[in-house]
C-alpha cells in the first residue's frame, strides 16, 4: 500500500526536523493536535524550535512537553492562558511568545500557503498588538498590515488519509490543520486510519495529497 513512500513511523517522519526549525502544530486545545507526532519530536530532543500553534496544550501534554523539556526558543500563536507553566516560562524570560489575534493567525498561515506575502486587516487596529505595524486607511477605516507565516515543517492531525496523502477531517478537529498543511516545506499528517487510494470520496477530501509529505497512522 506504500507505493508513494509517504507512510512511515512518527520517529522517521519527525527526523526531518532540525534544531532551530520553524514548526507549525495543528489543533485547538487537544482537539486536532497530532499528539503522537509531538511526542516523537520530544523524544528526538531537537532544540531551539520556533513553534507556531494556536496555543500550548495542557501542562504535561503535547506542545507543553516541548516547552517543559527546554526544546522551544519561541512561540507564535494566539492563546496561552490555559497553560500556567508556559505563561510562567514566558514571564521568566525562558521563551519568547508573539501573540496574534486568532483570525489573523489563521489568515497569515493561509496566506503563507497561498503565496500572499502580506495583507491588510481591521483586526487589532488601535490596540497594543498593532504597535510597530504599518497601517493604512481604506474607506475611512484603519487596517493593519499583517505578514504571512510559513514553516519548515507542519505537524497536523486528520481523520483519514489514503496512501497518496489525501486527507479528510473530523468535526472541529479540522481547525488549523488544513491551513498548516499548505504553509510548510514538509507536512506530516497523523491520521487515525490509512485507506487505499480511491476509497475516499473525492468530494469529501479537504486537503489534496500534494500538500502531504508523510503519513503516520496513530490513534489520537
Amino acid at each position: 500500500m506504500n507505493d508513494y513512500g509517504k507512510i512511515m513511523s512518527a520517529a522517521e517522519a519527525v527526523s526531518r526536523i532540525k534544531d532551530g526549525d520553524r514548526v507549525m502544530v495543528g489543533g485547538f486545545g487537544a482537539t486536532g493536535t497530532p499528539h503522537h507526532l509531538v511526542d516523537a519530536l520530544v523524544d528526538s530532543g531537537k532544540k531551539n524550535l520556533i513553534i507556531i500553534s494556536n496555543g500550548p496544550n495542557a501542562v504535561g501534554e503535547g506542545i507543553s512537553r516541548l516547552v517543559e523539556n527546554k526544546q522551544v526558543k519561541s512561540m507564535i500563536g494566539n492563546y496561552y492562558s490555559w497553560n500556567r507553566e508556559v505563561v510562567r516560562a514566558y514571564n521568566r524570560g525562558e521563551i519568547e511568545i508573539s501573540l496574534i489575534p486568532q483570525g489573523t493567525f489563521a489568515e497569515v498561515i493561509r496566506a503563507g500557503g497561498a503565496g500572499i506575502p502580506a495583507f491588510y486587516v481591521e483586526t487589532s487596529a488601535g490596540t497594543q498588538l498593532a504597535e510597530g505595524k504599518e497601517s493604512r486607511i481604506f474607506n475611512g477605516k484603519e487596517y493593519v498590515l499583517e505578514h504571512a507565516l510559513t514553516a519548515d515543517v507542519a505537524l497536523i492531525q486528520a481523520y483519514k488519509a489514503d496512501s497518496l496523502g489525501n486527507l479528510i477531517y473530523s468535526k472541529t478537529a479540522r481547525n488549523f490543520n488544513p491551513l498548516m498543511a499548505t504553509a510548510a516545506g514538509f507536512t506530516i499528517a497523523q491520521v487515525e486510519e490509512i485507506v487505499p487510494i480511491g476509497s475516499l470520496d473525492p468530494n469529501a477530501i479537504v486537503t489534496p495529497h500534494l500538500y502531504v509529505d508523510a503519513i503516520v497512522e496513530a490513534k489520537k
Partner: protein, 228 residues
C-alpha cells in the same frame, strides 16, 4: 443597591441578553457566544432562526451533550464539549474567521473587563496578570455587525465596569452596540448610553449612582422579571 451572587448575575445577564437577541430575529440570526457569561445565553434562547457559531470551526452548535455522548473532536471555543444540530456545518479556522471578518456574523456576545463612555471595550489583557492570550476577541469586535458586551456591572471591589475611559488595553477601535449587565441592557448609539431594558426589581436612581458613565432611560423601557 443589591449585590447579586455570581450565579444570579449569570442568569440575569443571560435572560436580558437572550431577550435582546430575540428582538433582533427578523431573519436567520448568526450568533457567536464568547466564553463565560455569554455562553449561557443559549440556555435562554429557543428559536429555530438563531444559529450559533464557534471560532474553532462550526455553525449550528448544539447544547452540552450527555457525558456518554461527548466527543473529543466536537468542542466549542472554550474547549467544552458540544453537540451537533440538524443542518450544522464544519469548516477550518480561516473560513471561520472569514465569516466574522467578511461581515457575515450578525451578533457577537462577548465578555469584557471595562467599557468606557466612548463605548470602547477592554477585554483581553490585564497587565502584570497571569494570563497571556488574545483569542478571537479582536476579530469579533472589529468584524461582527452587532457587538453585545455581556459583563457583570461591578468589579469584585464594587467599582463600576462602565468607566469614563478604559484603563486596560483596548480590544479595538470599534465601540460596543449594547452592554448587558445584571441590571439591564444599555444601548450605545450616537455617542451615548440609553438603558432600554432592566429588571422589575431595579431602582434606576440607585443604578445611576453605581454607574460611572452617564446613561439616559428609554421612554419605552422594558421591565423583565429576572430573579432566579
Amino acid at each position: 443597591m443589591k449585590v447579586y451572587i455570581r450565579d444570579e448575575i449569570a442568569v440575569r445577564i443571560a435572560r436580558l441578553a437572550a431577550d435582546l437577541l430575540e428582538s433582533m430575529v427578523d431573519h436567520n440570526l448568526i450568533v457567536n457566544l464568547g466564553v463565560g457569561f455569554p455562553s449561557m445565553v443559549s440556555d435562554y434562547l429557543d428559536s429555530p432562526r438563531v444559529f450559533f457559531h464557534v471560532e474553532n470551526g462550526m455553525l449550528g452548535v448544539g447544547p452540552t451533550p450527555a457525558p456518554e455522548d461527548e466527543d473529543i473532536d466536537l468542542i466549542d471555543a472554550g474547549l467544552q464539549p458540544v453537540s451537533e444540530t440538524p443542518g450544522c456545518a464544519y469548516f477550518d479556522s480561516a473560513d471561520s474567521f472569514a465569516i466574522i471578518r467578511g461581515g457575515h456574523m450578525d451578533v457577537t456576545v462577548i465578555g469584557a473587563f471595562e467599557v468606557d463612555s466612548a463605548g470602547r471595550i477592554a477585554n483581553w489583557s490585564i497587565p502584570g496578570g497571569d494570563k497571556l492570550g488574545v483569542g478571537g476577541a479582536m476579530d469579533l469586535i472589529s468584524g461582527a455587525k452587532t457587538v453585545v458586551v455581556a459583563m457583570s456591572h461591578r468589579t469584585r471591589d464594587g467599582g463600576s465596569k462602565l468607566v469614563k475611559k478604559c484603563s486596560l488595553p483596548l480590544t479595538g477601535n470599534r465601540p460596543a452596540d449594547y452592554v448587558v449587565t445584571e441590571f439591564g441592557v444599555f444601548r450605545f448609539a450616537d455617542g451615548k448610553f440609553t438603558l432600554i431594558s432592566t429588571g422589575d426589581d431595579v431602582d434606576i436612581e440607585k443604578l445611576q449612582k453605581i454607574t460611572d458613565v452617564d446613561f439616559e432611560v428609554s421612554e419605552e423601557l422594558k421591565r423583565l422579571q429576572l430573579n432566579v
